[in-house]
């Protein structure tokens, strides 16, 4: 504990330097804007701004990019509550009761509860991250290829289990993403795979063009401007403070959402999205008045908003401690670290303590900044929401092109982004979730390498995944999740995930 406090002290000495504070503030501000503006999520925001961090040192770069990530979770609630359009995917559930509260004249209270819940969850997440990541990194040093393979399989299975679409659809998307991840030169044999004599494809397909295409451009293609005609509710500053009953109603949902979100955040998948869905389902399930959900239930705002913030912090645990991305956003953050010569993973804490602890400490500061930003400046964000969508999306397309092109100055990447935009549009039409595709692409290199190394180690014996204790436990959990999924599909065609999907559609 003493060592952790000493290290945290080192972190604060880094995080409180004026330059780091400035980049944390910039990240939080841009993140809030990214969250507020519909059609541009944290992934697109981070990807677009990745090239501008090339001139910064590793600490400033990661502090700013992480600020965009958790800042967007705060900002997303503003659009959901005031416009009933999710600013980003994890705010979908907040639309339901947040906007209902706003229509009852409690917009300010809903925004305040969302911001305070986010702050509590974010801060809790950072405290647990501070305590958990270093010892986990020590354990992870004992991980070999079979353990990494089993962990990644668990991530995919967990994502499939939690998904609101069917198991086969999710795994199909993950397989598609993994297949895209095999494009390029095979690192073990040097074979070119599916590069079709295009030199740029030799390095494989980047995460940024795929993610920006699927989540940025794909969203724009499916959203003609005449469909975005939401009425913005403008809260008054004096209405921002919730009443005593609202505070009381939000206490336990914030606590539950925080713990649930953090735990889900640790596991690979679109944690911040899944966590808010699950938190909403839990709150509705245990509420004494489930009929109030959809009509402006405080718990329907407090729980999901806390959960998505805790999850976004939890996602940093495997990224920093194991070097495993839990989703596309953490994959881009990992790429940013690697660009700056700082490989994330178990050795990060010891090899680059100033980066690791500076980053952790900056998140304490960033969460306070976000609380200060989101409440008093809500009026400014409301003005932003009044920019007609017809003028907004050309700007987003421009940013998508700049962001993708500037990463590697490759026009092929921009074409990939456009193709992925069309793919994202088609997937939306056929009710596929693109998140497993991106996760598959992200983990493909690690997954393939660890799988092949495991097989080489065992002389081709698949039982290696059952002969090593950690891998065995992870595989048993996978089998349990698959069995539970198959059982629920067999026993009742409409289980809780299907019901949640229905609620979102409504």
């Amino acid at each position: 504990m003493g060592v952790t406090l000493d290290s945290l002290w080192l972190g604060f000495s880094v995080a409180l330097q004026p330059a780091v504070l400035w980049y944390a503030f910039l990240g939080c501000l841009v993140g809030t804007l990214v969250g507020v503006l519909p059609g541009i999520g944290p992934l697109a925001g981070i990807s677009i701004l990745l090239p501008i961090t090339f001139g910064l040192n590793a600490t400033n770069a990661i502090v700013m990019l992480a600020g965009i990530y958790y800042g967007s979770q705060y900002g997303g609630s503003t659009t959901s509550i005031l416009l009933r359009i999710p600013g980003e995917a994890s705010s979908v559930m907040t639309c339901i009761d947040g906007n209902a509260m706003a229509r009852k004249g409690r917009a300010g209270a809903a925004l305040c509860i969302a911001a305070v819940g986010s702050w509590i969850a974010g801060t809790f997440g950072v405290i647990v991250l501070t305590l958990v990541a270093p010892p986990l990194a020590t354990i992870a040093l004992k991980f070999g290829p079979p353990e990494y393979t089993a962990l990644l399989v668990l991530g995919l299975v967990f994502l499939a289990y939690m998904s609101t679409t069917s198991l086969s659809r999710t795994l199909l998307m993950a397989a598609f993403g993994l297949l895209l991840g095999t494009i390029g030169i095979d690192p073990l044999s040097g074979h070119f795979r599916y590069s079709f004599d295009i030199p740029e494809l030799g390095d494989g397909i980047g995460i940024v063009p795929v993610a920006v295409g699927l989540f940025g451009l794909g969203e724009i293609l499916a959203t003609p401007s005449h469909q975005v005609t939401g009425e913005v509710i403008r809260p008054k500053l004096r209405e921002l403070w919730p009443n005593r009953q609202e505070w009381r109603d939000s206490g336990w949902p914030i606590a539950r959402g925080t713990v649930l979100g953090f735990l889900i955040g640790i596991i690979p998948g679109s944690a911040h999205i899944i966590s808010s869905f699950l938190s909403y389902a839990v709150e509705k399930k245990i509420s004494k008045h489930p009929e109030e959900f959809g009509q402006g239930a405080v718990a329907g705002v407090a729980g999901p908003e806390s959960a998505n913030n805790a999850a976004s912090t939890g996602a940093f645990v495997p990224m920093l401690a194991l070097g495993i991305p839990t989703g596309p956003v953490t994959a881009v953050l990992m790429a940013a670290l690697m660009i700056h010569g700082v490989p994330p993973g178990p050795s990060l804490v010891n090899d680059h303590p100033e980066v690791f602890w500076g980053f952790v400490a900056s998140m304490y500061v960033g969460n306070v900044m976000l609380l200060a930003l989101n409440l008093p400046l809500v009026g400014i964000f409301v003005h932003l929401l009044r920019i007609p969508y017809a003028y907004l999306y050309p700007l987003i397309i421009m940013f998508c092109v700049i962001g993708v092109y500037e990463v590697a100055h490759s026009i092929v990447d921009v074409w990939i982004m456009l193709i992925m935009g069309v793919v994202g549009y088609a997937l939306k039409k056929f009710s596929f979730d693109p998140a497993p595709l991106v996760l598959g692409l992200v983990i493909a290199p690690i997954f393939e390498m660890s799988l092949r190394q495991s097989l080489i180690m065992s002389d081709g014996n698949w039982l290696i995944f059952l002969q090593r204790p950690i891998a065995f436990v992870l595989m048993i959990v996978c089998a349990g999740l698959l069995a539970m999924s198959a059982f629920s599909a067999f026993m009742a065609r409409r289980d809780w995930r299907a019901q949640m999907a229905e609620e979102v559609k409504e």
């Binding site: 069917s166 074979h191 003609p224 397309i397 056929f430 097989l455």
Partner: protein, 155 residues
């Protein structure tokens, strides 16, 4: 014997499942030169081929469960023309990007989107597209020192 098949009974998962099966088979055929290797010494083709088999299996699963999916005719395509126009305009912009450079391409991209897709007044569209591009050029190119494409005209 009369067939009970009609296009009206097609479900979205029939199309999606069939697509992924055909896609898997085509890519598998293209993977002929990739060595599978052996389990003790996996080759470059092992992972892609396993994944393609999985994709085909999941595609078949989609076909079998297709009855529960939405009718194909029920998929809303009213945004299709908007999507097509945006894709075509963006595609032209990408083709011209390295030739015309950042300022010209982006100005034309935004202007064309506003005029062709959104039917905005020409003056508004021109002012907005020029202003926006210049702000983006200054922010990215000057303030953040990101090397933007200059093109044959030198800017």
């Amino acid at each position: 014997m009369r067939s009970h098949f009609s296009f009206g009974s097609l479900r979205s998962d029939h199309i999606a499942g069939a697509f992924f099966i055909v896609f898997g088979i085509i890519v598998f055929a293209l993977s002929g030169d990739l060595p599978f290797g052996s389990l003790s010494s996996p080759g470059a083709g092992m992972m892609p081929k396993l994944l393609l088999v999985l994709m085909i299996v999941f595609g078949i699963a989609l076909l079998f469960g297709a009855a529960a999916s939405q009718p194909f005719a029920g998929i809303e395509w009213s945004d299709g023309s908007h999507a097509l126009m945006v894709v075509v305009i963006a595609g032209i912009a990408i083709t011209l990007y390295q030739t015309l450079g950042f300022i010209l391409t982006m100005t034309l991209l935004v202007f064309t989107l506003l005029i062709v897709v959104e039917r905005k007044p020409v003056l508004n569209a021109a002012a907005y597209s020029i202003g926006l591009t210049m702000i983006a050029w200054w922010v990215f190119g000057k303030a953040l020192k990101s090397p933007l494409e200059t093109g044959i005209l030198g800017f």
